[in-house]
């Protein structure tokens, strides 16, 4: 029997604070698209009654900018209700571990009154019509999606209610929804799935619905485990290299001994092609690609290649030469040094790697008239456009599938590996599954560039009169498209002057949360052509660590305890609240043995605020504890992180992001860096690049999620890195009695034997059974 379709009525009532507009889409089953995203801009005015004028970040931060850029196109995303009673949503953001798919599933479950396990989130292919609204970065996803996704879900629920009411001939107000079932007190009930065809619209029309008030939330605001957790722990979650695309055989690349070097000659290409298991060998832009039956045979093949190389653009650069160039480019301070009334400090931050654990990989199947790509891409539209241009194909002939990533940390803002896979597939005329090797990831992959932060503060009679910070960095590449948004909206920014993209991002993300009189923070960059990119929290980990160390120094100079000093000078009320909570929970001031100390770090960004209180052990018996092929050093023994995330949507996910940010901060402060030598990082494995390991992580970690302080969620994914880095640095300074000025603190000691620069990938060991336990 054909379902009777009730023709819904057009809704033209104006939106109010919780009532939002969307579209019922013409579709065989119920589908709702959203256009109204005005609330997503959520610009809040900063407290203004303060001696320091608001800095640009206070008024209008990077996330606001992204929200603004997202407004015009948010309407094209749709929630669908399926006949099996589930709801589907193709997320236009990339899941890389930050938990965005879980949070979005919670939003849909909340407004649809559907159990969360009946919500299916997939990652949308590149959709050029979304313009810059398909960019995952700046901790902005939840902030920009919160209203549109809930609106679509609420309209879907409302339409199901209307459909049931019409069929049962009862008032809409008497139909209730719970767990995916519609009910009426007469005993009538129907599942969502049974009504989705009847609820579907045969034309696209505008409707509105009222969203739940946060007080009525049953899903949002409650701790929720990840929706992909079961697939992860059973090994079923599929990453790029786990996908089976017909004939897409393993492929790896022999790479140059300097960053972005190029091939001069290959002496034995034919011989390598004849090796067991090898099918193809091709010279590409930055190396020689080898395709074979297994990745192991690709490693054998690329190692056997006999190649002469042209040097890359930074072949003459090492740590010392880059540092010298940065120091020459430092912008001058305005206020002259005032002797005893000045606090001056300069901090150097080494190159750091944003490599995730999953090596960069992509599958490409390039044909003469079309191409298909699979990769973890946070800006898939830019990847699609640029790869199409590279291949000489129209953009709409390049299908780009977004694959969940095994971490990102900024790495997947760029599509280097996808472009390379496309180049190789085109040259070989065959599909390829390209993986960078671990050593490629560290040596040729994107880095967070070396930078120097110089601070001068002046004080008189217990007041801080001026705070100046000059941040100078080797160039950060924002060529992935964030800059495009700024180009598009630069005229609307409340900032005067002709700022570069990097300067704009710097100003939109940085502000000093203290009443320090006249405050200026400026960025300058040295245009060196390293492979750089944003790393989790971009400039803030360095800028905030420098700031918090100087705050501690000012406190010491004025004879005050670090917390008492911050209490006196903080202008940000939310930071004050998280600090007080951290002081209580983390027991600030408790007695510790000599060589151990506490440190506190504060940071507000993405409309959120974090205080971190750590305890560090710098006693020789701890610093020198032996671990095979590992850096031990000082250990953070205890950490307390207090987060105000505005409206916390998933406290459990927030807790996870805080723990992750803590371990990033510990690594950046103490152990993890790249040593640049003659145009190449020396690091080649995780036993060279010392990201935090179990022997470095605090045995005691507590995260406190503050109750809601806002009606909208803040960003969270990057929020904890800066305050945690700062807290560890401040604790280290107090425990050792010496303020560190170079990070990570062990960068001056090379704690490993570097792999040779050629062949570019070391051979896998053969003695693995010897370490079985």
């Amino acid at each position: 029997m054909a379902e009777h379709r009730r023709s819904p009525e057009e809704d033209t009532s104006p939106p109010n604070r919780r009532r939002f507009l969307g579209y019922l889409l013409a579709a065989p089953t119920l589908a709702v698209g959203v256009t109204w995203a005005g609330a997503a801009s959520g610009v809040e005015q900063a407290e203004a009654a303060i001696p320091s004028l608001p800095q640009p970040e206070d008024i209008f931060d990077l996330g606001d900018l992204q929200n603004l850029a997202a407004l015009a196109t948010s309407g094209l995303i749709a929630v669908q209700v399926n006949e099996d009673g589930t709801a589907s949503f193709a997320l236009h953001r990339t899941e890389v571990g930050q938990g965005i798919s879980t949070t979005v599933a919670m939003m849909i479950a909340e407004e649809l009154d559907l159990p969360i396990d009946k919500v299916h989130i997939t990652l949308a292919d590149a959709r050029p019509e979304l313009l810059m609204n398909q960019l995952t970065g700046g901790s902005n996803s939840v902030r920009s999606i919160y209203t549109p996704v809930r609106t679509a879900s609420a309209i879907a629920r409302q339409q199901l209610v209307r459909t049931a009411a019409a069929q049962w001939q009862v008032p809409e107000g008497e139909v209730t929804t719970k767990d995916g079932v519609l009910s009426h007190r007469s005993g009538k009930s129907a599942s969502y799935g049974s009504l989705t065809k009847a609820a579907a619209s045969d034309r696209t029309i505008q409707v509105s619905a009222t969203l739940k008030a946060p007080a009525d939330f049953r899903v949002l605001g409650k701790p929720q485990n990840r929706i992909d957790a079961h697939d992860i722990v059973t090994g079923r979650k599929q990453f790029g290299m786990d996908l089976r695309v017909p004939n897409a055989k393993p492929c790896m690349v022999r790479r140059p001994p300097t960053i972005n070097g190029t091939v001069r000659t290959v002496r034995n290409l034919a011989a390598v092609k004849a090796m067991p298991g090898i099918t193809d060998v091709a010279v590409i832009t930055y190396g020689v690609a080898v395709r074979g039956d297994t990745f192991g045979q690709c490693i054998d093949g690329l190692r056997a290649l006999d190649v002469d190389w042209n040097p890359g653009p930074v072949a003459a650069e090492s740590d010392a030469t880059v540092l010298a160039k940065i120091k020459r480019a430092q912008l001058p301070m305005v206020v002259p040094p005032l002797g005893a009334l000045s606090v001056e400090a300069e901090f150097t931050f080494a190159f750091a790697s944003n490599a995730p654990l999953e090596p960069d990989n992509a599958i490409a199947d390039v044909r003469s008239d079309r191409a298909e790509i699979w990769s973890t891409l946070k800006v898939p539209i830019v990847a699609q456009g640029k790869i199409a241009a590279q291949l000489g194909l129209p953009q709409n002939k390049v299908v780009v599938h977004v694959v969940p990533g095994g971490g990102s940390f900024g790495r997947h803002l760029f599509h280097d590996v996808a472009a390379e896979a496309a180049e190789i597939s085109q040259k070989m005329g065959k599909p390829v599954k390209l993986s960078w090797t671990r050593t490629d990831d560290f040596r040729q992959g994107r880095t967070h560039p070396m930078c120097v932060s110089r601070v001068r503060a002046t004080h008189l009679l217990g007041n801080v009169l001026t705070y100046e910070q000059r941040h100078t960095s080797s160039e950060t590449d924002f060529g992935h498209g964030l800059g495009e948004m700024i180009t598009n909206f630069a005229a609307e920014l409340p900032i005067a002057g002709n700022l570069s993209f990097a300067e704009s991002i710097f100003l939109l993300s940085q502000s000093v949360p203290y009443n320090f009189g006249v405050v200026t923070q400026l960025l300058n960059e040295v245009p060196l052509k390293f492979n750089t990119g944003s790393m989790r929290n971009i400039y803030s980990p360095n800028v905030v660590t420098a700031q918090e160390l100087v705050v501690d120094k000012l406190a010491a100079k004025l004879g005050k305890d670090p917390v008492a000093f911050r209490r006196e000078f903080l202008k940000d009320q939310r930071l004050r609240a998280v600090m007080e909570k951290a002081v209580t929970v983390g027991q600030w001031g408790r007695k510790l043995p000599k060589g151990m100390a506490q440190g506190i770090g504060l940071h507000a960004e993405y409309r959120g605020a974090v205080a971190t209180l750590v305890e560090i052990d710098c006693r020789p018996e701890t610093v020198n504890r032996p671990i095979r092929d590992g850096v031990t050093g000082p250990r953070v023994t205890k950490a307390t992180i207090v987060v105000d995330a505005g409206l916390p949507l998933n406290p459990r996910g927030l807790d996870a992001q805080m723990i992750g940010g803590l371990n990033d901060g510990i690594a950046l402060a103490l152990t993890s860096s790249l040593h640049m030598k003659d145009g190449l990082p020396l690091e080649g494995s995780w036993d060279n690049y010392f990201y935090t390991r179990q022997w470095n992580t605090p045995p005691e970690v507590q995260v406190v999620v503050m109750p809601a302080t806002s009606s909208t969620p803040s960003g969270a994914g990057e929020l904890a890195v800066a305050p945690c880095f700062a807290a560890v640095a401040c604790a280290y300074a107090r425990a050792t009695g010496t303020m560190p000025t170079s990070f990570p603190v062990n960068h001056g000691t090379l704690s490993f034997e570097p792999y040779p620069t050629q062949p570019s990938t070391p051979q896998s060991p053969t003695d693995g059974l010897a370490t079985a336990f």
Binding site: I232, V233, R693
Partner: protein
């Protein structure tokens, strides 16, 4: 090329591949068993951790010819069957603690954790903080504290 036969997750498998190909690629590229992940191929990151005759090892660093006919290889996919349940207690603990973030390292973390607990039990003792400090598996998302909590919880049920 030669034939290699061994037990994989309870079933006998035979593959035809060169002797020196590391077991990880035999599992992933030839047999399609993708739970063990490639993170370095250097026996460092430990994201491919699996079991050989119940002991944790890293197949990225073992040539397939070193695997004997009688050897039992268990990957994350075969772990539940070792206890005759839908999930191993360690996997359940992982779910309860919501350990995972991106998930890439987690199959290896779980396999390493199970072997660590077995080793401690064989030695007649409980897991210590020093044991946990000695786990080498990288988690670049930094889920370490939840891993520690989950291992203690899983150990209590093993």
């Amino acid at each position: 090329m030669s034939q290699h036969t061994f037990m994989l997750n309870g079933a006998r498998v035979t593959v035809e591949v060169a002797d020196d190909v590391r077991l990880l690629w035999v599992l992933r590229d030839i047999l399609g068993v993708t739970g063990p992940k490639y993170g370095c191929g250097l026996n460092v990151c430990k994201s491919c951790t699996s079991h050989i005759n119940g002991k944790a090892f890293n197949p990225c660093s073992v040539p397939v010819s070193d695997i004997k006919d009688s050897d039992e290889i268990t990957t994350i996919e075969g772990l539940p069957a070792t206890v005759g349940a839908a999930l191993h207690p360690m996997q359940e603990a992982w779910l309860e603690e919501d350990v995972s973030q991106c998930g890439y390292c987690q199959p290896g973390q779980i396999m390493a954790a199970v072997a660590l607990v077995r080793m401690a039990k064989t030695e007649g003792r409980a897991i210590t903080d020093a044991d946990l400090d000695g786990l080498r598996n990288i988690c670049r998302c930094g889920t370490y504290s939840r891993i520690r909590t989950a291992i203690k919880k899983g150990a209590a049920r093993m």
